[in-house]
C-alpha cells in the first residue's frame, strides 16, 4: 500500500483557514489501512478543525466525505456535488489522490492533508515499513525476495556497505540492514553462492530518473 502521515495541524489550519466552505475528503483504500486518511481520520480532523475555528473566531464551514478511492475517476461520482459546492477540498488521500481530484475538478483548489511516504506494509498496528521503491525493474528474484533498492539506505546492489553494525543500518539503529536481511534470507534458501555474482549497473530510467512514469497497454485499451 501507499503509506502516509498527517501533516502538522497548524500547517493544515493555515492552508484552509481562508477557504470559506471546505470539504474534507477521505480515501477508503491505502490511507485507510495505514490509519492516516480514512473515514475515521476525516472525522477526527474535521472535529479538531471545527473546534480550532470556534476557538480562533473563524467562520470556516466544514463538510466531510470519504470515497472508496481517490485515484480512480468513477469513485468521485457520489461526491461530485459536494466538491463543486465547496470552495476548497482538503484531500486526505496520498499525493496521487490529491492530484487526480485536482485534475477532475478544474478550477477547484485541492489541498493535501497528508505527507505521502512510501510503498510499505503493516509490520504491526501502528508500525509501517517500506518494502518497494517503485524502481520499475524488479530485482527481487536475485536477492531472496528482499529489495536492496528499498531496504538498503544506499540502494546498493553489491552490498553490504561497511556501516552496518549488529544487523542494523548506520542511518538509524531502528532500521534493519537490508543486506543483513538479504544474506540471512539467501542463507536460509541455500542460495548464498549466487550473491557472489557481481550485479551490473542498474538502469534507473524506469524509475524516477526516467521522468514521470507512464504505462501504456494497447491490449487492454478500449
Amino acid at each position: 500500500m501507499i503509506t502516509a502521515v498527517q501533516k502538522p495541524f497548524e500547517e493544515i489550519y493555515r492552508m484552509v483557514e481562508a477557504s470559506g466552505k471546505l470539504l474534507i475528503l477521505g480515501c477508503g483504500t491505502c490511507v485507510t489501512v495505514c490509519m492516516a486518511g480514512g473515514e475515521k481520520e476525516v472525522g477526527i480532523l474535521a472535529s479538531t478543525l471545527r473546534l480550532a475555528c470556534r476557538e480562533r473566531g473563524s467562520s470556516l464551514e466544514i463538510e466531510e466525505a470519504t470515497i472508496e478511492r481517490q485515484c480512480d475517476r468513477e469513485f468521485f461520482d457520489p461526491v461530485k456535488a459536494q466538491v463543486l459546492g465547496a470552495d476548497a477540498v482538503l484531500s486526505m488521500a496520498c499525493g496521487v489522490g490529491v492530484q487526480f481530484c485536482s485534475e477532475l475538478f478544474e478550477g477547484k483548489r485541492v489541498l493535501p492533508a497528508l505527507n505521502t511516504r512510501f510503498y510499505g506494509t503493516t509490520v504491526q498496528q501502528g508500525l509501517w515499513s517500506e518494502r518497494c521503491a517503485g524502481c520499475g525493474t524488479c530485482v527481487l528474484d536475485r536477492f531472496g525476495g528482499v529489495c536492496p533498492v528499498a531496504r538498503c539506505a544506499k540502494s546498493l546492489l553489491n552490498g553490504p556497505c561497511g556501516g552496518a553494525q549488529d544487523g542494523k543500518c548506520e542511518v538509524d539503529k531502528e532500521i534493519d540492514c537490508g543486506w543483513q536481511l538479504i544474506y540471512d534470507r539467501m542463507s536460509a534458501l541455500g542460495l548464498l553462492d549466487s550473491l557472489m555474482e557481481i550485479q551490473p549497473v542498474k538502469d534507473w530510467s524506469t524509475g524516477r530518473d526516467g521522468g514521470p512514469g507512464r504505462i501504456r497497454r494497447q491490449d487492454v485499451e478500449l
Binding site: 502538522p8 495541524f9 475515521k40 477526527i44 472535529s47 479538531t48 478543525l49 473546534l51
Partner: protein, 123 residues
Amino acid sequence: MEKKKIVAFCCENSSLKAAEALSDPSLLEAVEIVALPCLGKIEIGLVLKCLEKGHPGVLVLGCPLDNCQYLRGNYRAVKRVERVRQLLGEAGLDESRVRMDFLSSLDSHRLAEILQGIKRSEA
C-alpha cells in the same frame, strides 16, 4: 436551550457499577453518562465530537490499570485520551477539558468526590 453537561464515558465493569452504588445518586445529575463495555471502546473521534457538540468537558472513567477484564482496554484508552489532549492543544483548546480517572466498582466514594468537584466548579 438546556445547558450541556460533561460527558462521562464509564466502563460497565467498574466505574458504571461505582456510579450505580453512589450513596447520593443525585450527584449523577452533574454528568451525562455513556456506558461502554470496556474503556478500550473509547474513540478519539467520539470524544472530540462531544466537545464539538458543545459539551464543556469529557470524563473518561475506567478500571484501575492492570485490572481490565479485557487485559489492555484501559491502557488503550490512556493512549487515545493522550492523543485527544494533544489534538486539543494543537487546536488551541484547554487540554484539561478531557480528564481520565481509574475507578474500581468499589470506588463510589472517589466517584462522589469527582462529581462533587464538577458540581462545585459549575456553581
